[in-house]
Every structure is written in structure tokens, then in C-alpha cells.
């Protein structure tokens, strides 16, 4: 139907096209502008007229990667995010499988409990945990941060994996059972491979969620276990004593991992909303 409308070129369609262009600019310009600035020297940034053409420099990125704090942040983020996502997936995917097959009221209540964890304000989790971790001597460690992030990854992976298992046709599972597969074999050999791609999407989604997480990390770390978002925020808030190009470069570095998975997530959305 959209196609039929487009054939008649009217004032309305021109306006619509124009609006579309504006939307696309609104969506991507901020990112492109930051990317450009990250390759600029300060003199090309502090110009009265914004500069589109300039001789690019890699100095900003070099500076960012040479900072010990960035390296530590990168290591911490890598370890904490990887561990919490793996733990979340190991526990969460089987749980989602079980929940997808529970049609009882109990099942509904458990699903709601998992969802309701997302209602918890992050401050309400971070403040008491800070006090607990301090008492246990675990404050500002990767272990305590990983543990806290499992709460996020586990609930997200469960919640997003339930629909993936629900879409596995029941007759395939039934056929496997008739062939003499036990319940575990059905899960590992039938359901898991069929739901695989969607599950991968769910895992990536939880990865991005914790990679980007800020408030909890800000409250639960002070120096040793600082993650990359915290280090980047410190950069961006330094004030103008630090060249602007470096600030732009630091947020670009922070944003690369989530953007790598753009394609995966786009595919995940397509599967989630296909009838």
C-alpha cells in the first residue's frame, strides 16, 4: 500500500520525503559528527564555523589507548561483561526453556517475578550493595560487580529467551519424544538448535545492556574495578583542560562494541516481530 501511494507525486509525498530525510539526519548525524570530531585536532574543533573537511589525525585515539586508566577500564569491562553474560546465559536459557513450557499459573507468576526485577531502580540496588560489599571486603572488585550484573543479564536473558522457545514448533519436540528422546535430549538436541539464532540475539542484547551500564558501576567501583563507561565519563567531564578531540575519541571507543552487533540485533528484531 505504501508503494501505491508513492507513485503519485504530490506536494504531500515531497513533504513526506523531506521529513524522512530529516529523520535520518536526526538519527545518524550526531554519531557521524562525533566520529568526525574524534579525528580532528583541537584547532579544527574550536572553529567559529563547524568544519566538515580537515586533515584527520589519529593522535586522539592514540592518546586514549595510551592512558593506563582506559586500558584498565577496557580489561575490567571485558572481564565483568563476559563473565556476567556467560553466567546469565548458562542459567537463563534452561530457565527460559522450562518457563516456555509451563502453562500453569505458577509459570505466569515466575515470569512476572523475572520481569519485575527490571522495575527495581538501579540506585536502590547499588546503595545497599555498596554497604554490603564494603563489609565483606568485596567493594571495588570485579567479582562483586560481576555478581551484581548477573542480576541484569540473567533476568534479561530469561525474559527474551522465553518467546524464542515458544516459537519452536511443538510437533518437532513431540516427534523427538516419540523417537525416544529424554527431556534433556529434547532440550539440547532439538529445542536449543532450533531456537539458537533468537537466543543469540537475547544474549547479545544482555551484553549491550551491561556493557553500557553506568550507575551501578559508578557506585560499586572507585579505582581498581572501574569499567569503561566510568572511565569515559571521567574523560568527558574533565572540562576544557583536555582537548575536545580526545573526549570525542573516548566515547567512540566506548561505543564500538555495541555497534559491532548492530546487524545481529536488527535480525533479532525481525525474528521477534514476524508472524
Amino acid at each position: 500500500m505504501g508503494a501505491q501511494m508513492a507513485k503519485r507525486i504530490t506536494l504531500g509525498t515531497i513533504a513526506a520525503r523531506l521529513a524522512l530525510v530529516c529523520v535520518v539526519i536526526f538519527a545518524v548525524f550526531p554519531v557521524i559528527w562525533t566520529l568526525l570530531n574524534s579525528f580532528k585536532e583541537v584547532v579544527d574543533i574550536v572553529t567559529p564555523t563547524p568544519k566538515l573537511f580537515f586533515s584527520p589525525t589519529l593522535e586522539n585515539f592514540q592518546y586514549v589507548f595510551e592512558r593506563p586508566s582506559v586500558r584498565l577500564g577496557l580489561t575490567n569491562s571485558g572481564i565483568v561483561v563476559f563473565s556476567s553474560v556467560v553466567i546469565g546465559a548458562l542459567f537463563g536459557i534452561p530457565a527460559a526453556y522450562a518457563l516456555a513450557h509451563m502453562k500453569s499459573r505458577m509459570g505466569e507468576e515466575i515470569k512476572f517475578f523475572v520481569l519485575s526485577l527490571r522495575f527495581l531502580p538501579p540506585v536502590a540496588v547499588a546503595i545497599p550493595l555498596m554497604s554490603i560489599y564494603l563489609d565483606l571486603g568485596l567493594y571495588d572488585t570485579r567479582l562483586s560487580l560481576t555478581l551484581t550484573y548477573v542480576l541484569l543479564t540473567l533476568s534479561t536473558i530469561i525474559w527474551l529467551s522465553i518467546p524464542a522457545f515458544e516459537r519452536v514448533p511443538t510437533n518437532i519436540e513431540e516427534a523427538a519424544r516419540l523417537d525416544g528422546y529424554g527431556p534433556y535430549a529434547v532440550f539440547f538436541l532439538v529445542a536449543l538448535p532450533v531456537a539458537g539464532p533468537s537466543l543469540f540475539g537475547a544474549i547479545i542484547f544482555s551484553f549491550i545492556l551491561v556493557w553500557n551500564e553506568f550507575l551501578i558501576a559508578l557506585m560499586l567501583t572507585t579505582s581498581e574495578a572501574k569499567t569503561l563507561p566510568i572511565v569515559a565519563s571521567e574523560f568527558t567531564l574533565l572540562g576544557r583542560n583536555v582537548p575536545w578531540g580526545i573526549l570525542n575519541a573516548s566515547v567512540i571507543v566506548l561505543s564500538i562494541p555495541p555497534l559491532i552487533f548492530l546487524g545481529v540485533l536488527s535480525g533479532f528484531l525481525n525474528r521477534m516481530f514476524k508472524k
Binding site: M130, E224, E234, G239, V242
Partner: protein, 420 residues
């Protein structure tokens, strides 16, 4: 023998090799430093190898902006305390010393770095309860900076009183031509808007406390706030939520006719690579009755991260090296005027060659009006920051009742005392 030959290259080499022998065992682990960005500290990062040679270890500096450095170092020191060296200032030295988050510096500061060479006023700021806690990185008082060209063109002489200042500001204010009469810090913080406001408050005779009883809710505070808001009408865009960075940038880009600010601005203003007004600025003491905001920042030894004498000596060695005469001469060469603290450096030929008599004279004169404006107490950051937020609200116009604002602060102060 060493001291006399230290200026010669040979002596320097010998000194280095001797200190290497003496300190190689002192340091066992790389040092962690929490600081705010300063030209002098960036300079240190370029010379890591030199420190490695004398100590056997390296160091890593985590930088935070001034407000965050204050907040985060407090949260960090009260919980984990993992930094070997903290960047401390006049406002939180009481808090850190009272809680024993830092240790007295003097006995760990190596003799060859000659502590007595620091300007005595800096040492006073770095002391609390009879002990010296930090070695100065920067410090000073206030100047009235004025644009000689603009004042001359308008036939105005540099104001010496607040009344004259107000007249001059109003006369020179011309936003249509991108010239603002004055510039003030509006952004929250005991070291930001409150820092500048205090010079009016104390100048009008205000007192913070009478013993344990808050005494600031007075005519002086009301008058100071009214004056501050009145002068803010002439302050350029970006300053109502800005601080040092925003006001000094506005001044150095030529948008401001007059400004009262801390003395390090002089170095930035005279640096043609960062300033459009180099050579066009005059310096004098703040107009009466304003007091100068006496301040000092420096490096102190963390208590928790350095549990034994040896590790404290190591942190002390770092502080000594980082604040040495040699480092200050480097700063002078690079034009980092704000970070000079040693009498020998101020007296050097290089200093007088680089900075005109004008600055040197102003430096001497301003020392007389420099005062401790804040409440020297461990609870000061808490109280000052609270006033900072209320003052910012008044400046941006989301509240207008000044007496009510002061009442609120007084209630907070009473609560603060009660909780102690």
C-alpha cells in the same frame, strides 16, 4: 657538597645515581595518584622514566575534574583508600586529616628536595592542627584583571573600590559587541560559585560560625548575595552554570572587560597560544572591601594504601620529586605560571625575565588582602556544596527569596552540627 654542585650537570648526574642507590629499595610497587588535571602533573607524566630511575617504580595518575575530584576522593578515601597520593586542597584538608585518610608529610618528604623553599603562605594552607599534610602544586590569592585597552578607550582608571568597580562594569558592558562587563562563577560547589561569593561575604564582615553556632545568616550574607546577583547581570553566557574554566575562557577570548579571579589566570592570560588578550591585561589587587580568596592545592600521602613506613617514604619521595625546584623550573619554562610555589623560583632571573614587574608587584600586594574565607572544618565541603546549589538556584532564577535561602542553609548547618 652535593647541594652546592647540584646546578652543574655533573653534580646532577651524581645526585641521581646516589639517590637511586638510596631509594631503590624504598619503593616496591607502582604508585597510584588521584588528582585533577594540571599542567604541572601532565608534565610529570612525560618524565615517568626519571622517576623510575630514582625510585625503581612507575606511577599512574587518575584525573578527575575539580568538583568530581573532591567528591570522588572523599568517597574513595572513606571506603577503599587505594591511592598512594591524593591531590588535596585547602577546603578538604581538614576532612582528610581529621579522618586520618592522609598522614603528616614532613617526615616522609626527602630532605634534598628542600621543603623550606616553599612559600610560607603555601605551607600554612597545607597545614592542619600543627602538621603539614601537603606539598603545594598551586596556590595564591586573587587579582583584579582588567583590559587596559578597553579601560583606556573609555577613560576609566582601574577601580579600587567595589563602587568604582560597579560603575566601570556598567560602563564597559556592551554585549552587542561581544564585550561583557564582568565574569563570575555561577556553577555549584564550595570551590566554584561559593568560592567567589565568599570574597564578598567576608569583605562585608560576614562570619560563618560563632563557636558551634551558625552565624552566617546576616546582613553581610544578604548584601553579598544581592551584590553577586547584581553583578551576574553583566556575566557572559555559559557562566551561570560554569566555573573557573568557563569564566577564564571567556576572559581569555576577549569577551570580558574586568574579572576578579585566582592568580594562576595571569599565566594563562599571558600565554599567546591560549589567550587572545596576551599583553592587553593589567593586574591589581581586588577592589576593597573584597578579600582575596587564599587557596592552595597539593599532594598528600594516603594512609590506607601506604600501611608501613617504607611505603610512606616512597609516596613522600614521589611528592618530593613532583614538587621539586627542578620541576618548578620546567613549569616556568613552559609558562605554567599558576603552579609555581618555591621562593627560589620566584626569585630566579628566569622568573623576572618571563613575567613583567606588573605581575610580580601585584603578587606582592595581593598577599596583604588574601584571607581564609571558608570555614576551616571537616564539615566545610558538605556545607559549602549545599550553599553552592542554593546559590546556583538563585543565579539561574529558579528561586528568588534570599533570606529564605539563607534560612534553609542555616537549618542545614544546624543539622550538620547535630549529626556530628
Amino acid at each position: 657538597m652535593l647541594k652546592t654542585s647540584i646546578t652543574t650537570v655533573g653534580g646532577l648526574l651524581m645526585a641521581t645515581s646516589l639517590t637511586t642507590a638510596a631509594y631503590a629499595q624504598v619503593c616496591t610497587e607502582d604508585l597510584k595518584i588521584l588528582a585533577q588535571p594540571r599542567g604541572s602533573l601532565t608534565l610529570l607524566e612525560d618524565r615517568v622514566a626519571e622517576f623510575e630511575e630514582i625510585s625503581g617504580v612507575s606511577f599512574k595518575i587518575d584525573f578527575l575534574n575539580e568538583n568530581d575530584r573532591r567528591a570522588k576522593s572523599r568517597a574513595e578515601a572513606s571506603t577503599t583508600g587505594r591511592y598512594n597520593v591524593y591531590y588535596i586542597d585547602e577546603a578538604n584538608i581538614a576532612l582528610f586529616a581529621e579522618n586520618e585518610w592522609i598522614v603528616p608529610l614532613r617526615e616522609h618528604f626527602p630532605d634534598e628536595y628542600n621543603f623550606e623553599d616553599f612559600d610560607p603562605s603555601r605551607i600554612t594552607v597545607g597545614s592542619y592542627d600543627g602538621n603539614v599534610y601537603f606539598a603545594p602544586i598551586q596556590g595564591g590569592g586573587d587579582f583584579l584583571y582588567y583590559r587596559k585597552d578597553l579601560l583606556e578607550a573609555a577613560g576609566i582608571t582601574p577601580p579600587t573600590t567595589l563602587e568604582e568597580l560597579k560603575v566601570a562594569i556598567a560602563a564597559l558592558h556592551d554585549p552587542a559587541n561581544n564585550v561583557y562587563g564582568f565574569a563570575l562563577r555561577g556553577g555549584r560547589g564550595s570551590g566554584a560559585n561559593v568560592w567567589r561569593w565568599m570574597t564578598y561575604f567576608r569583605g562585608f564582615g560576614g562570619e560563618w560560625f560563632d563557636g558551634d553556632t551558625p552565624a552566617f545568616n546576616s546582613e553581610a550574607a544578604i548584601k553579598a548575595t544581592e551584590t553577586y546577583l547584581e553583578l551576574f547581570e553583566y556575566s557572559p553566557p555559559g557562566t551561570s552554570t560554569g566555573s573557573w574554566t568557563e569564566v577564564t575562557e571567556a576572559f581569555n577570548s576577549g569577551q570580558v572587560a574586568l574579572i576578579v579571579e585566582s592568580s594562576p589566570l595571569a599565566g594563562l592570560t599571558e600565554d599567546p597560544t591560549s589567550s587572545a588578550v596576551a599583553g592587553m591585561v593589567g593586574y591589581t589587587v581586588p577592589p576593597s572591601p573584597l578579600t582575596g580568596g587564599g587557596y592552595g592545592h597539593g599532594l598528600a600521602i594516603g594512609a590506607r594504601a601506604n600501611p608501613d613506613e617504607a611505603s610512606r617514604d616512597c609516596a613522600g619521595l614521589f611528592i618530593g620529586w613532583a614538587t621539586s625546584q627542578d620541576q618548578e623550573m620546567q613549569r616556568l619554562e613552559q609558562g605554567i605560571f599558576g603552579d609555581l610555589n618555591r621562593q627560589s623560583v620566584f626569585a630566579s632571573d628566569e622568573f623576572s625575565a618571563k613575567y613583567s614587574d606588573n605581575i610580580a608587584t601585584a603578587l606582592e600586594e595581593t598577599a596583604d588582602v588574601t584571607a581564609v574565607n571558608f570555614w576551616p572544618n571537616a564539615d566545610w565541603p558538605d556545607l559549602g556544596d549545599r550553599w553552592g546549589i542554593i546559590l546556583e538556584e538563585l543565579i539561574v532564577g529558579s528561586r528568588t527569596d534570599i533570606p529564605a535561602a539563607l534560612d534553609e542553609l542555616e537549618e542545614y548547618a544546624n543539622d550538620l552540627i547535630a549529626r556530628r
